[in-house]
């Protein structure tokens, strides 16, 4: 009888715990970090960290590219996979998209006959190239059964190679006003948030989302339940690739130029944002809302260090620690669940 009531109490506790959104913890961490900067700001710099709308905008602006990638990476990680190629895909798509976004006034256009294109052309090309890269990732993983780590590692190296090969290492500049407009003002943030909302809805309310979680939770059971695991994985990786492509477009537009070295290490920032946001690397667990908060945390951290005039070296050291800490917490949570 006593075990019975204990079990009931436990069930009740779990029930009340579930009433709170799972993102609450991570949101409190965000507030905490911001408050620490606020206090340190008054002590060391003599000004407020938060009472500065311009800074807050810049924080989100700076991470919106990472955020767009992270939305795709979150979906990949929910299936139990990983995508290491997104940073290179950003570089590759930036090059391709910029090459079709050059103005006719630019004397050294890559394709002189294809200048002054309507903005939709380079954007579609960029997303398309990313989609193709993701599709190849997905096909490799689904058909050859190689680990996602390896498949996307290969894509990471090759895509970077392609972006260098495309112009033999030369930057692509002289982009049209209309194209550059995508990267100005608040637009990158808007694109990030729209993408986040779309895939938040997709994951929570569509069959696509249900299948994504099911595959991550137990791929065997998902297959026996009739899910075509292979084709679904191709979809997920293709979407992640397309989002990396979109991030490449935004990156080129923001910089008003494209270089082969763009997006280096973005994949790691995106994975970090995802994991900090509560997505489990074991698969089956994760939400876009968490990833958005995780992305903002990354931005606040970086911005705060700059605000406090901390050396860039220390920034990287602390960032590394925070990423590891987030995964340690995840592992700990899983262990607790199992016992």
């Amino acid at each position: 009888m006593s075990t019975n009531s204990a079990a009931q109490a436990q069930a009740a506790a779990q029930k009340s715990a579930r009433r709170l959104p799972p993102e609450l913890n991570i949101f409190l961490v965000l507030i905490g970090i911001a408050l620490v900067y606020e206090i340190l700001g008054w002590i060391f710099v003599g000004q407020s960290f938060l009472m500065n709308p311009q800074r807050l905008t810049i924080i989100i602006l700076q991470v919106s590219v990472i955020g767009i990638i992270a939305v795709g990476v979150t979906q990949v990680i929910i299936t139990g996979g990983i995508d290491l190629s997104s940073g290179s895909v950003v570089g590759m798509t930036a090059m391709f998209t910029a090459s079709l976004a050059q103005a006719s006034t630019w004397p050294r256009a890559l394709y002189p006959s294809l200048t002054d294109m309507p903005v939709i052309v380079p954007v579609a090309l960029g997303i398309g190239v990313g989609l193709l890269a993701g599709f190849i990732n997905g096909q490799l993983i689904a058909k050859t059964k190689i680990p996602p780590f390896i498949a996307t590692l290969g894509m990471m190296v090759s895509a970077r190679g392609i972006s260098k090969w495309y112009t033999k290492g030369q930057p692509v500049s002289g982009l049209t006003e209309q194209f550059n407009f995508i990267g100005t003002g608040i637009w990158p943030v808007v694109i990030f948030l729209v993408v986040a909302v779309i895939f938040h809805i997709a994951l929570r309310y569509t069959r696509y989302g249900k299948f994504t979680y099911a595959i991550g939770a137990n791929v065997q059971a998902a297959r026996v339940s009739g899910i075509n695991v292979e084709s679904h994985l191709v979809k997920v990786y293709a979407i992640a690739g397309a989002l990396a492509g979109l991030a490449g477009v935004v990156t080129a537009a923001r910089a008003q130029t494209a270089q082969a070295g763009m997006g280096v290490m973005y994949e790691l920032d995106a994975i970090a944002a995802t994991v900090i946001g509560g997505t489990s690397l074991a698969g089956g667990v994760g939400r876009i809302t968490g990833t958005v908060i995780g992305t903002v945390i990354l931005g606040v951290m970086t911005s705060g260090f700059t605000f406090l005039r901390v050396d860039a070296f220390y920034q990287e050291i602390v960032k590394g620690i925070i990423i590891v800490a987030a995964v340690v917490v995840d592992v700990y949570r899983q262990k607790k669940r199992k016992t």
Binding site: Q14, F211, Y213, A214, A221, V224, S225, N228, G284
Partner: protein, 512 residues
């Protein structure tokens, strides 16, 4: 209690007189959550004999063997090695005490050589402390010579056949100068000639005074190689006899001896047309020429020992492992089932054997677990899930199946086995199947939930569903089925009508 190292030292000094029994166990009890695996069991192994352990699936043979090999520790009772009480803490502990076990799934490292595998942790060293490969090679060759094994010690294990890996395992066990060798169904993957060789080796070892515990499902092996055998049933010790004293029938009677005490709500329901017809279904190397029909309203029991191919047939019919040849007809039309998705589109459902591995989405909630199969073609509009309607249907189903839970947002891993099983049954009932395959539907769940599940199955049959039910529990198969199909080593050995299906008959067909 004596520590293993002291024990080993004492053994080496020869101070212990030869006890009557090499290894024995008395009053051993072992419980797992919800089951008593062994209850007051005894076992006595004489020096220089082969002692077979016999019993149905779940009789307790494996648990006893694992206790003897130090993998489990008994809750009660004691294990005596040459008359001395010992308490084994680990398989390594057992090995150091002279008890070696050869597992059914072999534990060799595929990318290392035969010699390296045999002498691992005990590699001969040269004076610089490096591994002396020459010496290792010589020692292996000597060992192989002693055992009449012809094999190059420098071959990588991954290049060996299953039989040769088995030989390496045996050589490894012998190299520890073990007194006791435990073999778990060593012939299950061997050809007849390889079995002969194995038996020759076993006879040699026996002549050297080694005691061998031999687990098998095969009756003819028992008569060929075993001197004595012990029978277990439902975790209890039934008896020990010399294998020359008994007949096959005696053993079968000892193995199945129980009466059917549980009640099964078998109901006579009108049997309709043939729904599923399987002809000469073959999955190369796994099962061959399996043919049977199932009619609407009929429950076809599928019996056989573990490894007989029962579950593989189910997986193939459901498209998990598509057949290499043969045909499947549904309502008289041949269908090509190449994936579970296709099977579901033909309104089949498959409750798998292993709830954790292939059934539950453990970290997801009841609702998500229940709805995943039906989402293939229902409750979805333009990609969006009709959440409200689906939740209502799931709640209804969960009430009907009496899933005990505060709400459907509970993670399925927090439920008991019986409730998990009900959720998974609900998952399939939502798809309104006309063919339902159940693989061990009541394994590891409590009696109450078991009876409820039997009742659901009966109700489904009454509604005209064709049911295939695989079960290792004889009373369940005999109590629920209209006909019983028995398999042995990948072949159908008989299909019995309800009237003629008895435990002894099924056991005979299953154990050949």
């Amino acid at each position: 209690m004596v520590s293993p190292t002291t024990m080993a030292a004492v053994r080496a000094s020869g101070a212990i007189p030869n006890a009557e029994y090499l290894l024995s166990a008395e009053g051993v009890r072992k419980e797992f959550p919800g089951v008593v695996a062994l209850d007051d069991v005894e076992f006595k192994l004489k020096r220089g004999t082969v002692h077979a352990l016999m019993g149905e699936n779940g009789a307790g043979k494996s648990t006893l063997m694992k206790i003897l090999a130090g993998i489990y520790t008994p809750d009660q009772g004691e294990v005596l090695l040459k008359g001395q009480k010992i308490r084994l803490q680990s398989p390594l502990d057992a090995l150091e005490n002279g008890i070696a076990m050869i597992h059914q799934e072999l534990n060799l490292m595929p990318f290392m050589t035969v010699a390296e595998n045999i002498w691992i942790r005990r590699e001969p060293k040269n004076r610089f402390g490096f591994v002396d490969h020459g010496e290792m090679h010589r020692k292996t060759a000597a060992l192989f010579k002693r055992l009449n094994i012809v094999m190059d010690p420098e071959t990588q294990v991954r290049d060996l056949s299953v039989a040769n890996r088995q030989m390496v395992e045996i050589a490894k066990a012998v190299s520890y100068e073990s007194d006791v060798l435990i073999m778990d169904e060593p012939t299950s993957a061997l050809t007849e000639r390889e079995v002969e060789h194995l038996f020759t080796i076993i006879r040699d070892l026996r002549a050297q005074g080694i005691g061998i515990v031999y687990i098998t499902h095969k009756m003819n092996e028992l008569f060929e190689i075993a001197d004595e055998f012990s029978v277990f049933r439902d975790g209890k010790y039934i008896g020990t006899h010399a294998s020359t004293d008994v007949t096959r029938d005696d053993i079968i009677r000892m193995m199945v001896g129980r009466e059917i005490t549980q009640m099964f709500p078998k109901e006579e329901v009108p049997i309709g047309d043939v729904i599923l017809s399987v002809k000469n279904l073959t999955l190369k190397g796994v099962f061959h020429d399996v043919s049977f029909d199932v009619r609407a309203g009929e429950i076809l029991g599928l019996a056989g020992l573990v490894g007989s191919g029962r579950s593989n047939v189910a997986e193939t019919i459901f498209g998990v492992t598509p057949a290499s040849s043969g045909t499947i007809e549904i309502n008289g039309k041949p269908v090509n089932i190449d994936s579970p998705n296709t099977a579901i589109r033909h309104r089949m459902a498959f409750l798998t054997e292993d709830r954790k591995d292939t059934g539950c989405l453990l970290i997801l909630d009841i609702l998500e677990n229940m709805q995943i199969a039906v989402l293939q073609d229902k409750f979805v509009k333009n990609g969006f899930v009709a959440e409200r309607e689906l939740t209502r249907v799931c709640e209804e189903m969960s009430r009907k199946l009496r899933v005990k839970t505060p709400n459907l947002h509970e993670r399925i891993e927090n439920l008991s086995g019986g409730n998990q099983q009900k959720v998974l049954i609900g998952r399939w009932l939502l798809t309104h199947p006309r063919i339902l395959i159940l693989d061990e539907p009541t394994r590891g769940i409590d009696v109450g939930a078991k009876a409820e599940i039997h009742r659901f199955v009966t109700e489904l049959a009454r509604d005209g569903v064709a049911v295939i039910m695989i079960s290792s529990e004889m009373p369940e198969v005999l109590g629920m089925s209209d006909r019983v199909m028995v398999m042995h080593e990948g072949r159908v050995t008989g299909i019995l009508d309800r009237a003629e299906a008895t435990q002894v008959k099924v056991m005979e067909l299953a154990a050949q």
